[in-house]
Point group: C2
Amino acid sequence: MPDIFDRWVIPVSLPPPRLTDNRADADRLAGALKSVLHTDDITFAWPLLKVLPRRLRAAASGKVRCVVMKDGRGFRVVGVKDIADPSPAAGIAVDLGTTRVVLRLIDLETGAALSETALDNPQISVGPDILARIHFAANDSGRRGLHERIISGLNTAVADLCQKADIVADDIFLMTVAGNTSMTHLFLEIVPDWIIREPYIPAANRFSLISAAELGIAVNPCACVFVFPNVGSYFGGDLIAGILYSGLHRRDEIAMLVDVGTNAEVLLGNRDWLVACAGAAGPALEGGMSKIGMTARPGVIDEIRIDPQTRAFQIHTIGDQPPVGICGSGMIDLAAQLFLTGMIDLRGKFVKDACGGRRIEKDGIHQITVVPADQSATGSELAISQTDIDSLVRSKAAMYAILETITAYVGVTFKDIVTFFVAGTFGSFIKPRSAIAIGMIPDLPETTYQPLGNSSLAGASLALTSRAAFDEIDAIRDRITYLELNVNPEFMGRFSAAKFLPHTDPARFPSVVRKN
Amino acid sequence: MPDIFDRWVIPVSLPPPRLTDNRADADRLAGALKSVLHTDDITFAWPLLKVLPRRLRAAASGKVRCVVMKDGRGFRVVGVKDIADPSPAAGIAVDLGTTRVVLRLIDLETGAALSETALDNPQISVGPDILARIHFAANDSGRRGLHERIISGLNTAVADLCQKADIVADDIFLMTVAGNTSMTHLFLEIVPDWIIREPYIPAANRFSLISAAELGIAVNPCACVFVFPNVGSYFGGDLIAGILYSGLHRRDEIAMLVDVGTNAEVLLGNRDWLVACAGAAGPALEGGMSKIGMTARPGVIDEIRIDPQTRAFQIHTIGDQPPVGICGSGMIDLAAQLFLTGMIDLRGKFVKDACGGRRIEKDGIHQITVVPADQSATGSELAISQTDIDSLVRSKAAMYAILETITAYVGVTFKDIVTFFVAGTFGSFIKPRSAIAIGMIPDLPETTYQPLGNSSLAGASLALTSRAAFDEIDAIRDRITYLELNVNPEFMGRFSAAKFLPHTDPARFPSVVRKN
């Protein structure tokens, strides 16, 4: 569709004021916008209203570009620029991750990405995980401190975006923020206490537009911030953004979207129905449990092959750097290879004979050497223990049980799933064959699995470049039926059955064939 | 109707959160409010959302009182109090006059007035009239200065209201502000430049709810401010508030509402139609032209009788104090008596013989002594000049021509007008018989004329105590047809014909009989 009907920047031609048409400036402008927006419900950011008469009269041609944003059922005008003004009208999409925050500066008229930047979530100084931060936010000063940390971090990032794209912050009129429910609460300084306590109640699932100035974000004083809505405490705006980006809510075929982290969030559906659930998968899949586990960065092992005959390890690291540790997808690769080569058994336990010299005992716990000390970047050997493998097996079992439960709940089978989207960094690195080999995900054709990349950022960006896409956000949220695993009677049985490699019922994984 | 269905404070009983009802706190509260407000469109002031989870859980009974306000087509929740909390939920109605600002503190639950205070509009230091202030606002610092003056004045008044009523400012959640279009613009720091320049364009006629905190008003941080809409540059929110209070928009019979000042604003209508116009009446009716003219206060002459035989002046002052000057209604009384006793002629000129010794010449201009020096509070004589009378005649002629033009435009006659509301201080003091005697208002039975008092404040108060009344505001505004006198071809002819006392056509004023 033509940009004017889909972008947030709308060019309008204003009739000049006359005695016979002495409507207020705001009414004249709203009247012109109405022909594009098809509503009378058009309001103005107060700081814009203050200077509107001058802004309109400064446009010699009578033509201006208006930056608008959906506000409830109507629109809020947040910027007016002379059509002859060459400076852009920009917006910022934010993926507000617990660990990492990524921002993309977007030209609202062309839809082009102007620059991108990322930072560690500055709240990490309080605690790496959500739980620690929510406890820190238990009192007003803690909550305020966390809020100020993220706002200050965002402001630094905004300055960086502007510098990279050579624009001024005053040209930024919109911001869309997609984060999980806890990050969203902490961003908005909202009491998060009951998110983590049964029955897990967020303060709010939807957020009105908030003025950037009120939030303390250093962009145009009229700018507003849209925060993606949550479904509940454990299914947040980052997922809604991901669904929006994936487009699965518009497809005829059934698709699944999985975001893997400490929590696994899953959505199953198509254009007719959407069912979501979330469950604790444990930190193993993020590489967070093992002593050598770490998130993806140069030097991290992301791929391992074990020769079925010689049992020699062939290791690949990100950026081909000397190995420093192993990430979640590397762990899955490793476990899959250990299993396929017979080095671990059906229960994930090290097989003494098969492991040979790689298996050593340390402090009463068995471990196997992945990288000897003389080949690692750290100078120490990189090893994973039986405990690490046990933990990974529990995580993959939880993951599989979640997928099985949601599928059964809806009454479909894995075979009905045409596309299986895997979100996040994890999704970009994971090798479906390996995840299938350990029985973490169903044994579907490899082409079924599609990495989405940073779908939270992509969804937040889409909301800035397409009004039609933006309009789907609330509809997606409202259509989602949330399946509460905590009260699901069958989940535990499925979890136990999935604690074998690949499963208690190997017939479910016909493609998994051990080579030894 | 029961208060719960008409007040802005709504008691609700909240279901406790459960695993099987794990809606967000805001959703649970909105759900409970929906049964009273009949809409899903319920949002929360951000500062309230921040602490909502604690506020709800602190209410031991699960019962809370919510303060809401209409926001576009939906509602905004701006306060939540424990039902057991004995402190009131209050609001402030503001009559934002060019000269005087009056505030009333209202208990939003009972509708009772808790206290009242008034102050001179602090912008007077810049200029007594609108024109001077708009010129002062031509640059950003001037505009900001005027805004800050009124905000600071309001904050002093808010503290005074609280002290008088023994409540804290944190218990104030709503504010309604009714002012003319220029005062409204200056209050909101909006560029007013084009209000006073043909074709007389305000920046805006409607204003979204504004957060009191953003405005700098020291009440509850979640509070919001509603500003009455204008019809145009010369028909402002104070009039809309006055109409609301008068109820003329709900009557079957035709009524007129007149607010007399430097500008005369007139509304004519009934439940089916409303027509408004405004025109310059000149400062004479406010007592602003004459050397001894002043607004009503102790010592000001508000009533004069002249003995038709002896031509002795019998003078009444406000508070029976020694005379210091004369107000608008006193001037009208004086002119009427001078005319009825033959001391001025049909054109308003002093009649030498009839004036006798009271008529003296000073600096080439004739004047008559109203109060001799030895009887005045100032020690100087109080006199009015031929120029003063000429000015009054022009003003009354403008007033009558406006009334005639709007009536003719609609196609009704003065006799069709069942009630003639006179707003403002002027309306409280004016004697209809005198105004009729000089032909300023039509010759209708005296009981037709009803003073409304401070109808702007009363309307602003009504908006705080009745949701149903509030809902009429926009409907009133939208129904008004504004008649532009500047482009009316017949107005000037009517004005000329009305420059006689009582009129060129005395048959229009059968009740006016000169006694001499």
